[in-house]
Protein backbone atom coordinates (compact mmCIF):
# COMPACT_ATOMS: atom_id res chain seq x y z
CA UNK A 1 0.00 0.00 0.00
CA UNK A 2 2.86 2.30 0.83
CA UNK A 3 4.10 2.11 -2.77
CA UNK A 4 0.80 3.16 -4.33
CA UNK A 5 1.99 6.76 -4.87
CA UNK A 6 5.08 5.43 -6.66
CA UNK A 7 2.91 3.24 -8.90
CA UNK A 8 0.60 6.14 -9.64
CA UNK A 9 3.62 8.31 -10.34
CA UNK A 10 5.05 5.76 -12.75
CA UNK A 11 1.66 5.42 -14.45
CA UNK A 12 1.40 9.17 -14.82
CA UNK A 13 4.94 9.32 -16.20
CA UNK A 14 4.18 6.61 -18.75
CA UNK A 15 0.98 8.40 -19.72
CA UNK A 16 2.88 11.66 -20.19
CA UNK A 17 5.52 9.93 -22.32
CA UNK A 18 2.85 8.31 -24.44
CA UNK A 19 1.07 11.61 -24.92
CA UNK A 20 4.29 13.42 -25.81
CA UNK A 21 5.17 10.74 -28.36
CA UNK A 22 1.74 11.02 -29.97
CA UNK A 23 1.92 14.81 -29.99
CA UNK A 24 5.42 14.81 -31.40
CA UNK A 25 4.39 12.42 -34.15
CA UNK A 26 1.15 14.14 -35.06
CA UNK A 27 2.19 17.20 -37.10
CA UNK A 28 4.41 15.29 -39.55
CA UNK A 29 2.04 12.35 -39.83
CA UNK A 30 -1.04 14.44 -40.42
CA UNK A 31 0.47 17.19 -42.54
CA UNK A 32 -1.70 17.89 -45.53
CA UNK A 33 -4.35 15.34 -44.59
CA UNK A 34 -8.07 15.87 -44.66
CA UNK A 35 -9.79 17.83 -41.91
CA UNK A 36 -6.59 19.36 -40.61
CA UNK A 37 -5.75 23.03 -40.75
CA UNK A 38 -3.65 23.78 -43.81
CA UNK A 39 -0.09 24.71 -42.86
CA UNK A 40 0.49 28.41 -43.24
CA UNK A 41 3.31 29.60 -45.47
CA UNK A 42 4.64 32.86 -46.79
CA UNK A 43 6.20 33.32 -50.19
CA UNK A 44 6.61 36.01 -52.82
CA UNK A 45 4.60 35.45 -55.97
CA UNK A 46 6.06 35.86 -59.45
CA UNK A 47 4.90 39.47 -59.50
CA UNK A 48 6.96 40.18 -56.41
CA UNK A 49 4.00 40.49 -54.07
CA UNK A 50 4.18 38.79 -50.68
CA UNK A 51 1.61 36.05 -50.28
CA UNK A 52 0.64 34.28 -47.08
CA UNK A 53 -1.88 31.46 -47.04
CA UNK A 54 -3.53 32.74 -43.87
CA UNK A 55 -4.34 36.07 -45.50
CA UNK A 56 -7.07 34.17 -47.36
CA UNK A 57 -8.86 32.93 -44.25
CA UNK A 58 -12.53 33.58 -44.85
CA UNK A 59 -12.17 32.57 -48.50
CA UNK A 60 -12.20 29.15 -50.10
CA UNK A 61 -8.69 28.39 -51.39
CA UNK A 62 -7.76 26.01 -54.18
CA UNK A 63 -4.04 25.42 -53.75
CA UNK A 64 -2.71 23.83 -56.92
CA UNK A 65 0.78 22.32 -57.17
CA UNK A 66 1.79 22.19 -60.82
CA UNK A 67 4.69 22.50 -63.24
CA UNK A 68 5.23 23.56 -66.83
CA UNK A 69 6.44 20.06 -67.75
CA UNK A 70 3.29 18.38 -66.41
CA UNK A 71 0.73 17.74 -69.17
CA UNK A 72 -2.32 17.25 -66.93
CA UNK A 73 -1.36 20.39 -65.00
CA UNK A 74 -1.43 22.61 -68.04
CA UNK A 75 -4.81 21.20 -68.95
CA UNK A 76 -6.16 22.31 -65.58
CA UNK A 77 -4.78 25.83 -65.56
CA UNK A 78 -7.20 27.43 -68.06
CA UNK A 79 -10.09 25.86 -66.12
CA UNK A 80 -8.80 27.18 -62.80
CA UNK A 81 -8.36 30.60 -64.39
CA UNK A 82 -11.98 30.56 -65.49
CA UNK A 83 -13.11 29.53 -62.03
CA UNK A 84 -11.11 32.34 -60.46
CA UNK A 85 -12.84 34.84 -62.70
CA UNK A 86 -16.26 33.30 -62.20
CA UNK A 87 -16.17 32.58 -58.47
CA UNK A 88 -13.58 35.06 -57.24
CA UNK A 89 -16.14 37.62 -56.07
CA UNK A 90 -18.07 34.83 -54.34
CA UNK A 91 -15.05 33.90 -52.26
CA UNK A 92 -12.78 31.56 -54.26
CA UNK A 93 -9.04 32.12 -54.32
CA UNK A 94 -6.89 29.92 -56.53
CA UNK A 95 -3.16 29.85 -55.77
CA UNK A 96 -0.70 28.14 -58.09
CA UNK A 97 2.49 26.66 -56.68
CA UNK A 98 4.99 25.77 -59.37
CA UNK A 99 7.32 22.88 -58.60
CA UNK A 100 9.49 23.65 -61.61
CA UNK A 101 13.19 23.75 -60.91
CA UNK A 102 13.59 26.67 -63.30
CA UNK A 103 11.77 29.90 -62.44
CA UNK A 104 12.53 31.35 -65.87
CA UNK A 105 10.44 28.64 -67.54
CA UNK A 106 7.55 29.46 -65.23
CA UNK A 107 7.75 33.17 -65.92
CA UNK A 108 7.79 32.43 -69.64
CA UNK A 109 4.73 30.22 -69.28
CA UNK A 110 2.83 32.74 -67.17
CA UNK A 111 3.65 35.54 -69.61
CA UNK A 112 2.16 33.51 -72.46
CA UNK A 113 -1.00 32.49 -70.66
CA UNK A 114 -3.62 34.67 -69.12
CA UNK A 115 -3.58 33.22 -65.61
CA UNK A 116 -6.01 34.99 -63.34
CA UNK A 117 -4.50 34.02 -59.99
CA UNK A 118 -1.15 34.34 -58.23
CA UNK A 119 1.66 31.92 -59.00
CA UNK A 120 4.55 31.29 -56.67
CA UNK A 121 7.56 29.01 -56.72
CA UNK A 122 7.34 25.99 -54.47
CA UNK A 123 10.14 23.90 -53.06
CA UNK A 124 10.68 20.61 -51.29
CA UNK A 125 10.06 22.20 -47.89
CA UNK A 126 6.66 23.55 -48.91
CA UNK A 127 5.75 20.19 -50.44
CA UNK A 128 6.77 18.38 -47.27
CA UNK A 129 4.68 20.74 -45.13
CA UNK A 130 1.65 19.49 -47.07
CA UNK A 131 2.53 15.89 -46.48
CA UNK A 132 4.70 15.53 -49.56
CA UNK A 133 4.08 16.49 -53.15
CA UNK A 134 5.60 13.45 -54.82
CA UNK A 135 3.88 13.84 -58.14
CA UNK A 136 1.78 16.27 -60.09
CA UNK A 137 -0.80 17.59 -60.42
CA UNK A 138 -1.85 17.84 -56.82
CA UNK A 139 -4.42 20.18 -55.33
CA UNK A 140 -5.76 21.02 -51.91
CA UNK A 141 -9.17 22.53 -51.37
CA UNK A 142 -9.20 24.59 -48.20
CA UNK A 143 -12.40 25.90 -46.66
CA UNK A 144 -12.98 29.37 -45.27
CA UNK A 145 -11.80 28.26 -41.83
CA UNK A 146 -8.49 27.09 -43.23
CA UNK A 147 -9.32 23.39 -43.10
CA UNK A 148 -8.25 20.98 -45.85
CA UNK A 149 -11.43 19.43 -47.19
CA UNK A 150 -10.02 17.78 -50.31
CA UNK A 151 -6.65 16.46 -51.36
CA UNK A 152 -6.55 15.57 -55.02
CA UNK A 153 -3.54 13.67 -56.38
CA UNK A 154 -3.35 13.21 -60.11
CA UNK A 155 -5.97 14.26 -62.58
CA UNK A 156 -9.06 15.36 -60.69
CA UNK A 157 -12.67 14.97 -61.67
CA UNK A 158 -13.14 18.61 -62.58
CA UNK A 159 -16.92 18.55 -62.40
CA UNK A 160 -16.88 17.07 -58.90
CA UNK A 161 -14.26 19.61 -57.86
CA UNK A 162 -16.31 22.46 -59.20
CA UNK A 163 -19.40 21.19 -57.38
CA UNK A 164 -17.48 21.02 -54.14
CA UNK A 165 -16.17 24.55 -54.59
CA UNK A 166 -19.65 25.84 -55.32
CA UNK A 167 -20.93 24.09 -52.21
CA UNK A 168 -18.25 25.63 -50.03
CA UNK A 169 -18.83 29.09 -51.43
CA UNK A 170 -22.55 28.80 -50.72
CA UNK A 171 -21.90 27.61 -47.19
CA UNK A 172 -19.52 30.37 -46.24
Amino acid sequence: MWHLPRVLGMTALCACLTISIVVADTPARLAGTLNTIAPDFMRTDLSGRPLQLNQFKGRVVLLNFWATWCGPCITEIPVFSRWQRRYGDAGLQVIGVSMDDDETAVKRFVAKHNISYPILMGDAKLGESFGGVFGLPQSFLIDARGRIVLRSVGEPNMEALRSQIEGLIRVH
Binding site: D123, A124, G135, E155
Partner: protein, 159 residues
Amino acid sequence: MKSLTNATVLSFCLGMGCPFGASGVGAETVAASSIPAADLLQPADLAATLKSNSTTRPLVLQIGFRKLFDEAHIVDAEYAGPSGESAGLAVLRKRVAKLPRDSAIVIYCGCCPWGHCPNIGAAFSALRALGFRNVKALYIADNFGTGWIEKGYPVTRGG
Protein backbone atom coordinates in the same frame (compact mmCIF):
# COMPACT_ATOMS: atom_id res chain seq x y z
CA MET B 1 -14.03 14.83 -71.95
CA LYS B 2 -11.18 15.12 -69.47
CA SER B 3 -9.23 12.32 -71.09
CA LEU B 4 -9.93 13.73 -74.52
CA THR B 5 -8.49 17.06 -73.45
CA ASN B 6 -5.43 15.46 -71.93
CA ALA B 7 -4.90 13.26 -74.95
CA THR B 8 -5.15 16.30 -77.15
CA VAL B 9 -2.53 18.18 -75.15
CA LEU B 10 -0.23 15.15 -75.12
CA SER B 11 -0.61 14.58 -78.82
CA PHE B 12 0.08 18.24 -79.43
CA CYS B 13 3.18 18.09 -77.25
CA LEU B 14 4.44 14.94 -78.91
CA GLY B 15 3.76 16.11 -82.40
CA MET B 16 4.84 19.71 -82.18
CA GLY B 17 7.34 19.77 -79.34
CA CYS B 18 5.66 20.90 -76.15
CA PRO B 19 5.26 24.67 -76.24
CA PHE B 20 4.27 24.98 -72.63
CA GLY B 21 7.49 25.08 -70.80
CA ALA B 22 10.61 23.34 -69.65
CA SER B 23 10.15 20.27 -71.79
CA GLY B 24 10.76 22.48 -74.75
CA VAL B 25 14.27 23.43 -73.59
CA GLY B 26 16.17 21.91 -76.46
CA ALA B 27 15.25 18.26 -75.97
CA GLU B 28 13.15 16.08 -78.20
CA THR B 29 10.11 14.66 -76.43
CA VAL B 30 10.17 10.86 -76.35
CA ALA B 31 6.97 9.17 -75.24
CA ALA B 32 7.10 6.78 -72.31
CA SER B 33 5.07 4.36 -74.42
CA SER B 34 8.08 3.96 -76.72
CA ILE B 35 9.82 1.86 -74.07
CA PRO B 36 9.33 -1.85 -74.83
CA ALA B 37 7.25 -3.71 -72.26
CA ALA B 38 10.12 -6.14 -71.71
CA ASP B 39 12.25 -3.26 -70.47
CA LEU B 40 9.79 -2.11 -67.82
CA LEU B 41 10.40 -2.97 -64.19
CA GLN B 42 7.58 -3.14 -61.66
CA PRO B 43 8.09 -1.24 -58.38
CA ALA B 44 7.50 -4.38 -56.29
CA ASP B 45 10.33 -6.15 -58.12
CA LEU B 46 12.80 -3.32 -57.59
CA ALA B 47 11.78 -3.01 -53.93
CA ALA B 48 12.44 -6.74 -53.45
CA THR B 49 15.88 -6.38 -55.03
CA LEU B 50 16.75 -3.41 -52.83
CA LYS B 51 15.62 -5.23 -49.69
CA SER B 52 17.66 -8.29 -50.54
CA ASN B 53 21.31 -8.65 -49.61
CA SER B 54 22.26 -9.04 -53.22
CA THR B 55 25.68 -7.63 -54.05
CA THR B 56 24.64 -6.97 -57.62
CA ARG B 57 22.26 -4.12 -57.08
CA PRO B 58 21.51 -1.97 -60.10
CA LEU B 59 22.47 1.66 -60.31
CA VAL B 60 19.22 3.55 -59.69
CA LEU B 61 18.95 6.96 -61.30
CA GLN B 62 16.16 9.48 -60.80
CA ILE B 63 15.96 11.24 -64.14
CA GLY B 64 13.13 13.62 -63.21
CA PHE B 65 12.99 16.89 -61.38
CA ARG B 66 15.23 18.12 -58.59
CA LYS B 67 12.54 19.35 -56.20
CA LEU B 68 10.74 16.03 -56.27
CA PHE B 69 14.03 14.20 -55.71
CA ASP B 70 14.79 16.50 -52.79
CA GLU B 71 11.48 15.67 -51.16
CA ALA B 72 11.96 11.93 -51.39
CA HIS B 73 13.67 9.34 -53.55
CA ILE B 74 14.40 5.64 -53.74
CA VAL B 75 17.06 4.57 -51.28
CA ASP B 76 20.55 4.94 -52.78
CA ALA B 77 19.18 6.52 -55.95
CA GLU B 78 21.22 9.26 -57.55
CA TYR B 79 19.89 12.38 -59.17
CA ALA B 80 20.58 12.60 -62.92
CA GLY B 81 17.91 14.67 -64.55
CA PRO B 82 15.71 15.97 -65.92
CA SER B 83 16.08 13.97 -69.11
CA GLY B 84 13.28 15.85 -70.86
CA GLU B 85 15.69 18.76 -71.16
CA SER B 86 19.02 18.94 -72.98
CA ALA B 87 20.88 20.00 -69.85
CA GLY B 88 19.40 17.09 -67.92
CA LEU B 89 20.31 14.61 -70.63
CA ALA B 90 23.88 15.91 -70.46
CA VAL B 91 23.91 15.14 -66.72
CA LEU B 92 22.73 11.60 -67.40
CA ARG B 93 25.27 11.02 -70.18
CA LYS B 94 28.07 12.29 -67.98
CA ARG B 95 27.03 10.05 -65.08
CA VAL B 96 27.13 6.89 -67.15
CA ALA B 97 30.03 7.80 -69.45
CA LYS B 98 32.61 5.58 -67.76
CA LEU B 99 30.32 2.67 -66.90
CA PRO B 100 30.68 -0.68 -68.66
CA ARG B 101 27.91 -1.01 -71.23
CA ASP B 102 26.56 -4.12 -69.54
CA SER B 103 25.94 -2.28 -66.25
CA ALA B 104 22.54 -2.82 -64.67
CA ILE B 105 20.77 0.52 -64.59
CA VAL B 106 17.26 1.36 -63.41
CA ILE B 107 15.83 4.75 -64.31
CA TYR B 108 12.73 6.28 -62.80
CA CYS B 109 10.82 9.54 -62.68
CA GLY B 110 7.26 9.43 -61.26
CA CYS B 111 6.68 13.14 -61.71
CA CYS B 112 3.25 12.58 -63.21
CA PRO B 113 1.14 9.84 -64.80
CA TRP B 114 3.24 7.47 -66.95
CA GLY B 115 1.79 8.56 -70.28
CA HIS B 116 2.54 12.20 -69.51
CA CYS B 117 6.09 11.80 -68.23
CA PRO B 118 8.45 14.02 -70.23
CA ASN B 119 11.60 12.34 -68.93
CA ILE B 120 11.50 8.56 -68.84
CA GLY B 121 11.30 7.94 -72.59
CA ALA B 122 14.11 10.40 -73.32
CA ALA B 123 16.36 8.86 -70.66
CA PHE B 124 15.75 5.32 -71.88
CA SER B 125 16.35 6.29 -75.48
CA ALA B 126 19.59 8.11 -74.62
CA LEU B 127 20.97 5.18 -72.63
CA ARG B 128 20.16 2.76 -75.42
CA ALA B 129 21.82 5.08 -77.91
CA LEU B 130 24.93 5.03 -75.74
CA GLY B 131 25.00 1.27 -75.98
CA PHE B 132 23.59 0.26 -72.60
CA ARG B 133 21.62 -2.97 -72.94
CA ASN B 134 20.77 -3.72 -69.33
CA VAL B 135 18.54 -0.74 -68.68
CA LYS B 136 15.14 -1.00 -67.03
CA ALA B 137 12.57 1.75 -66.69
CA LEU B 138 10.64 1.65 -63.44
CA TYR B 139 6.95 1.63 -64.33
CA ILE B 140 5.28 4.15 -62.02
CA ALA B 141 1.71 4.38 -63.19
CA ASP B 142 0.57 7.58 -61.51
CA ASN B 143 3.30 9.22 -59.46
CA PHE B 144 6.14 8.44 -57.08
CA GLY B 145 3.92 9.00 -54.05
CA THR B 146 1.26 6.43 -54.85
CA GLY B 147 3.51 4.10 -56.83
CA TRP B 148 6.36 3.83 -54.36
CA ILE B 149 6.13 5.74 -51.06
CA GLU B 150 2.59 4.74 -50.11
CA LYS B 151 3.45 1.11 -50.76
CA GLY B 152 6.09 1.27 -48.06
CA TYR B 153 9.06 0.67 -50.34
CA PRO B 154 12.48 1.91 -49.21
CA VAL B 155 12.77 5.65 -49.48
CA THR B 156 15.10 8.44 -48.44
CA ARG B 157 13.43 11.72 -47.53
CA GLY B 158 15.19 14.97 -48.11
CA GLY B 159 17.89 15.69 -50.66
